[in-house]
Amino acid sequence: MIPGFIAKKSLPALAAVLLALACLALGLPALAENPLGRGQTMPDLELPMPENAAQAQYLGLQPGGASFRLSQIKKPWLLIEIFNMYCTICQREAPRTNQLYQAISQGPLGRRLAMLGIGAGNSPFEVNAFRNRFRIAFPLFPDADLKIHEALGEPRTPYYILIKLGGPQLRIVLANLGRFGEPADFLADIEQALRAD
C-alpha cells in the first residue's frame, strides 16, 4: 500500500506537511482579503464635501464644491476609521473612538492630525444613524457601493489607518485591524508612529 521509497518512520512528518499544505489551501480565501497596511501608498480618495461647514473647516477645506480629495486636507496627518454601522464591534468601539478623537483634538496633536470615518457599505442614512446614536463629532462619510472599501483591500471592520499627507504620495504609517484597546494606548502608538516617521 505504501510505496517503498517512503520510509515508514517518515510517515508522521509527511502527514504533518500534507496537513499544513491543506491548511494553507483552506486559509487562502481569508488571506486574499489583504488590506493596505503600514508603508503602503494610500489612494487619494475622493469624498463628498461635508455639508457641515464646521467639519469642512476642521479638515481645512475650502467651502464649495461637491467633493474633495484626501490630499486637499490641510493637516499633515490623517487618521481614518473604516467602520460599518451594522458591525457590532464598530458599535462597541464607537465610545472609545470618540474618546480617542477627544484626546487628539484637545491635545497637542489637534492642529496636526485630523480624523474621519468611512462607513463601508453604508448609505448616507445609515452613516447618519451611526453618527446620531454615538454623537460622533468627527466627519463621517458613506461608502455605499464599497468602492473605497475595495480600494483599501477589503479590510474587516473596524480598521484604523494613520496617513501622512503631503508629499507626492499619501503614505500609511500605522494600521490597526479590529479593536485598538485603550484610547490612551492607541494614542501613544500614533505618537510613536509620528515620531518615527
Partner: protein
Amino acid sequence: MAKRMSFWFVPLVLLAGLLAAPWAWAASAGGPLAEGIFETGPLKPRDSQLKVAVGQVAPDFTLPEIGGGAVSLSQYRGKQNVVLSFVPAAWTPVCSDQWPGYNLAEDEFRQRGAMVIGVTVDNVPSLWAWTQAMGGVWFPVASDFWPHGRVAGMYGVLRSDGMSERALILVDKKGVIRYLDVHDINQRPDLGVLAAELDKLGK
C-alpha cells in the same frame, strides 16, 4: 535525540505557522458574533414565490419568541406599524449584521412608531445564542422552526433549501401590507429605504 527533534522541527513549525496565520488574522477584528459566522458563499438571490401583496391584510401568526413567550402579529394591530424582518438563518453572513444594525437604529424605528419582529426558521435556543452574541436585541425575535417555516411559507418567502428569504414586510396599524422587499439574499437592505417607507405611513 537531537536528530529526532530536527526531523520533526520543520514540518511542525510549518504546520503551526500555517494554522496560526489565518485564524489570528480573522480574530483580530472579530468577537463572539464575528467568529461564529458560517460562511455560506453566494446563494441564489431569490428562491421562492410571494403569496402576499401590497394592499392585502397580512396573514396573522403566533410564534415562539426568544424571551420565552410567544409573539403574534395581531398584538400590534391598532397600536404600531410592524416591520416583519425575515432573515435566512442564524450565524450566517449579512443576517448577523442586519439585526445589530436595527439595534443601533432603535430610535429611528421608535420615532416612526414602528416595531420590528425578527423571524427566522431557526429554533429558539439557536436564536437565543445568536442574539446574545449580538449583545441582545430590543425587538421580539420569533422562531419559525416548527412546523418548519410555516409562516415563511404562508407569506411565500420560504426557499427550497428550508431557509427563508431576506425579506422586509411593512404592515401598518390596520394590519395591511404597505411595503414588500424580498431582497437579494446576499445583500443587506438599505435602512434608509425602509425608513422612507415608514415615513409614508406616519406614526
